[in-house]
């Protein structure tokens, strides 16, 4: 069992790609691309909740004065 295309360095000149699971690059790309899209959606939702909370608490222009 080996996840890489090489199991020793006896034929170093024949070794090209070093990373494991070299046949899975397309699947990994799809997973990572999807993660990016999902992350953007989650970030926007979290940001909306953050702003809603500020509005709900009734903060105003002088709210930050007591902390500065």
């Amino acid at each position: 069992m080996a996840t890489t295309t090489y199991t020793n360095y006896e034929s170093l000149a024949d070794i090209t790609i070093l990373s494991p699971f070299p046949g899975s690059i397309t699947i990994l790309f799809i997973v990572c691309f999807a993660f990016w899209i999902v992350w953007q959606v989650m970030q926007i939702n979290a940001e909306n909740r953050h702003y809603d909370e500020i509005k709900k608490k009734g903060h105003n222009a002088s709210s930050a004065d007591k902390f500065s």
Binding site: P22, H59, A61
Partner: protein, 445 residues
């Protein structure tokens, strides 16, 4: 690499770009320090996180599609030919991973990526204290992994159609990075609008003083430092130009991004002379104001950058001074005339300075070969059209359209109540509560 000489050449080049990447990281550190210094206390954390999170977003999107665009789009496509084969730069290419058959592609990718961060970070500064982080990150991916890299393929590639057809020359990215980022920032800011209180009802502008001017100056010093890496990264350190196009006999030299000969020594002098010209004029025109003196030092470098591979140091210094003066005057004229809230002067220092520098270079470099691989020469009209494409076509227009869409979806600007209270108000409240609880525990212990 089957002999020591070729191994030395390849590994030196690999290490060379690697070091430029580390140095260019300081540009982003500088931008973060700078933005926190400019922003008001109630917005510090969100300002910092907005600029920090562009790092992963632009990095992964540049890996997904940005790098491929650079090699696939030199012809437009369909302006001077079709799509180029760039299979080695796709997100599923074996070369885009640890690979014994290629030592350069990864560090070259990283050097370009750091340019992408810079382009996005310039936009970040102009939009502080009122843009939503989510909207900014979408815009950051657009400029960092699409718009700027298209302009790099067009005007910063030896085979780019702007180089081949217009004679466009922009060795250290006056327009390729700074012009486009300034134009992009202007497009966003025009839709976003000014910060509440920036302009009075009679149209006069208020100065929103930076929270910490000394952080700003340290930030700009860091940007200057990182800029050394930027300049070095725009060069190819060792290239056999003689065998390639220079007469047939081996003649190794450093080249610019177009593979035209230059020297690291020469661009080092010009970097310092253009910085000096910008600083000296900036000091005079701003009456010694630290913010503007530092900013106009940067504007001086940016303005001279397009020709700093060949300018005489005196030319670099004079051009930088002229650019710094024009940038300062233009910033306030635009602010007062069009009510544009360019919060950190980014549109001016990058967009105006880069574009003005390109216009000047068209006259100073008139007739110089624009490429070793064709007959195109630098002309005033070629540089002017190039500046327009960078600032307006690839910068302003996509930013304005995307911002309009985001604004229409209610995703561009933070709510008014949040802007007044401060983006960090909940975190400040929580910190105060934590401190109170800790103090109480400390006293009772």
């Amino acid at each position: 690499m089957d002999n020591e000489l070729s191994a030395l050449n390849i590994i030196f080049t690999e290490a060379y770009y690697w070091i430029t990447v580390v140095m260019m990281f300081l540009i982003h550190v500088g931008f973060c320090v700078y933005e926190v210094g400019v922003s008001r206390y109630k917005n510090h954390q969100h300002t910092l996180m907005k600029n920090t999170m562009l790092i992963p977003i632009v990095t992964i999107t540049f890996y997904f599609f940005g790098w491929w665009i650079y090699f696939a789009f030199p012809n437009g496509p369909f302006i001077n030919g079709g799509l180029e084969d760039a299979s080695f730069a796709t997100p599923i290419a074996q070369e885009m991973a640890p690979n014994m058959s290629d030592h350069i592609l990864g560090v070259f990718w990283a050097a370009f990526l750091l340019f992408s961060w810079t382009a996005a970070s310039i936009v970040s500064g102009a939009t502080i204290e009122r843009i939503r982080t989510g909207a900014f990150l979408i815009l950051a991916a657009l400029i960092g992994s699409v718009c700027w890299i298209i302009d790099a393929a067009w005007g910063w590639h030896y085979a780019g159609w702007m180089v081949q057809l217009l004679g466009y020359h922009d060795a250290y990215a006056s327009g390729v990075i700074h012009g486009i980022a300034g134009g992009f920032a202007l497009g966003v800011v025009m839709v976003l609008g000014p910060r509440i209180g920036k302009f009075n009802s009679d149209g006069s502008a208020n100065t929103i003083s930076p929270r910490n001017p000394w952080m700003i100056t340290i930030g700009l010093f860091l940007i200057y430092t990182g800029f050394w890496g930027f300049y070095a990264a725009c060069n190819v350190p060792i290239y056999d130009a003689g065998s390639d196009y220079g007469g047939g006999e081996a003649l190794f030299t450093a080249t610019n991004i177009y593979l035209q000969p230059t020297t690291l020594s020469g661009i080092t002098i010009n970097f310092l002379m253009s910085l000096s010209g910008g600083l000296m004029v900036g000091y005079l025109v701003s009456k010694g104001d630290a913010f503007w003196t530092y900013s106009l030092g940067l504007a001086g470098i940016i303005g001279a950058s397009c020709g700093n591979d060949v300018y005489h140091p005196y030319q670099a210094m004079i051009i930088a001074g002229v650019v710094a003066y024009c940038t300062y005057k233009l910033h306030f004229w635009v602010e007062n005339t069009f009510k544009i809230d360019d919060a950190v002067g980014a549109i001016a220092v990058h967009g105006y300075a880069g574009s003005i520098g390109l216009l000047i270079s068209g006259f100073v470099l008139w007739g110089m070969p624009a490429t070793p691989y064709g007959d195109a020469v630098v002309t005033p009209w070629g540089q002017a059209i190039g500046a327009f494409i960078m600032f307006f076509v690839l910068g302003f227009v996509p930013a304005w359209i995307t911002s309009k869409i985001l604004d229409g979806m209610g995703l561009l600007r933070i709510p008014r109540e949040v802007e007044l209270a401060g983006l960090d108000i909940l975190e400040m409240e929580q910190r105060a509560a934590d401190d109170a609880q800790f103090n109480k525990a400390e006293r009772s212990a």
